[in-house]
Symmetry: C2
Subunit: 307 residues, 2 copies
């Protein structure tokens, strides 16, 4: 594949940034990949595993002469990082981010950027429950969606170029408006995460009563919640604080619906429950047909290989 940017700077070296580094390198999309992270430990790990061509100790050093700067920090840190990079950015550079919310990131970042750089917010709809520089892998974005949320007046060429980069690491791309993005993600990601965190928290409270039973018998459904609830706490705190309204709206609908089903249970209305469960089953099929999950039972987990 052809090189798309001469120099790419990754700010923050967690799951997304490290997967990008592997993906860009595999496809030869960047002349040089530079990285930095706030913690010295993370930078040391990145150096040790040779994650980037060069690891810098400061943000200003990392973005110097970069053609593309990718902000891979928690949403709550975007404002501070934007202030730090602004004076060091090269004229004509593109800045993007990979935050899971877009309206709040645009408001946090855009005011600080000089007029001579392009800001093209992005969001890769992909992830795992692992975090840190060792957790990345080149295949993370394959067949997953990258949502591009161009700000008003964005230069079409800059948007096309970053879209080519995301396609180059295997992703599909779509463009949408920031508010619409935040609502869709509240449904597909933010509300499900809060619900999973909550259910796991409830089980944890109860496990003091039931010892390790909750752990041992988790294969009955609960373990799938724990995977989601094992995601990075800082990232998720920031997501909820920065997509407050949409998340609360979806949670409101969820609670309303849950109460309806609870009442059906209390009243013994089997027909209502059966109809509901039949409807939800078909959604699974659509997701498999859309290539967004495997049809293999239990996600293809090998029962004999628990580690």
């Amino acid at each position: 594949m052809t090189q798309i940017y001469d120099r790419v700077a990754l700010i923050g070296l967690g799951l997304i940034a490290s997967s990008m580094a592997h993906g860009m390198r595999r496809a030869g999309l960047a002349g040089e990949i530079v990285g930095t992270a706030r913690s010295a430990e993370t930078r040391d790990t990145a150096r040790e595993i040779g994650l980037c061509d060069r690891i810098c100790d400061t943000v200003a050093e990392a973005v110097k002469d970069a053609d593309l700067v990718v902000l891979c920090v928690p949403v709550g840190a975007m404002d501070v990082v934007a202030r730090e990079i602004a004076p060091a950015l090269k004229a004509g550079a593109t800045v993007t981010d990979v935050g899971s919310v877009k309206r709040a990131v645009i408001e946090a970042v855009q005011p600080h950027l000089p007029d001579n750089v392009h800001f093209v917010p992005s969001h890769p709809v992909a992830g795992t429950e692992h975090s840190g520089p060792r957790s990345g892998f080149a295949e993370l974005f394959e067949e997953r969606w990258f949502l591009i949320v161009p700000v008003e007046g964005a230069e079409p060429e800059a948007v096309d170029r970053i879209e080519a980069l995301w396609k180059g690491i295997g992703a599909k791309t779509a463009r949408m408006d920031a508010d619409h993005h935040d609502l869709v993600l509240a449904v597909t990601s933010h509300a499900p995460h809060l619900i999973a965190y909550t259910m796991v928290g409830v089980a944890d409270d109860l496990s003091r009563v039931t010892d390790s039973e909750v752990i041992n018998y988790s294969a009955a459904g609960f373990r799938d919640f724990t995977r989601i609830a094992a995601s990075d706490p800082t990232m998720w705190r920031d997501v909820f604080l920065n997509n407050k309204e949409a998340t609360l709206e979806i949670l409101g609908r969820f609670t309303e619906e849950l109460f309806v089903l609870q009442r059906a249970i209390r009243e013994g209305n089997g027909e209502q429950l059966h109809d509901y469960f039949t409807r939800t089953r078909s959604i699974r099929r659509s997701i498999i047909e859309a290539g967004q999950d495997t049809a293999a039972a239990n996600f293809g987990r090998t029962p004999t290989d628990p580690k």
Copy 2:
């Protein structure tokens, strides 16, 4: 391995029964495996794939001379099936079931059984989102728990013998009281299933607004809910109707906790959210250490193989 029963009769031929048939056959645990199912289509499929040694058209025929009868029907059908098998049971036979709730099953089955048979309720804490006679596989129970819930006055030898069978198909076993079982499973299975069904239902309502976006961007957490919510509707209707109190109690706690977290979001209390998410993360680790799930990211789903 040594044969444990001369003849085993499987009543109902879904995921659990078909996995048992494969597991018993692989380990040579039964002299003859006989099966039956209510629907002619299921019986035909079972015959076609050679699931059992013999498929009978009636329940009475299937249980005749069987040393072990396994009721693998939805919880709501246990009462009817118990009445049907009762007159045909061999003296000294053992009857077990694989229902996900135990108090209600004991109440539905025990009164109908003659005094000269042993009733040893069981519950395999294992499953997938697939159902029917083709969905079974011998490895389903490996390293998973079989909970044995002996009724009062159960003959120790009959209990030991069925425990040996479950161990023979690869499972771990534990014994517990029916009410305790129903409470633990409400936490690890019943409440999580209702929550997953609810969230998928909410997304389905909204997807009429957002077209296929909910499907396309499901990789952000939602798809794990859809797996759970794709489980058999009849089985789950019966679980909720028959473990009403425990499920409603856990859902009550869940809603209470969800409201606390919703308020933290509304008030912007990041510390509370971060603390909560940090606590839930450690539970995932315990489940992996207990051998009840894989540590591989995203359950080891292969991103390049979506089908």
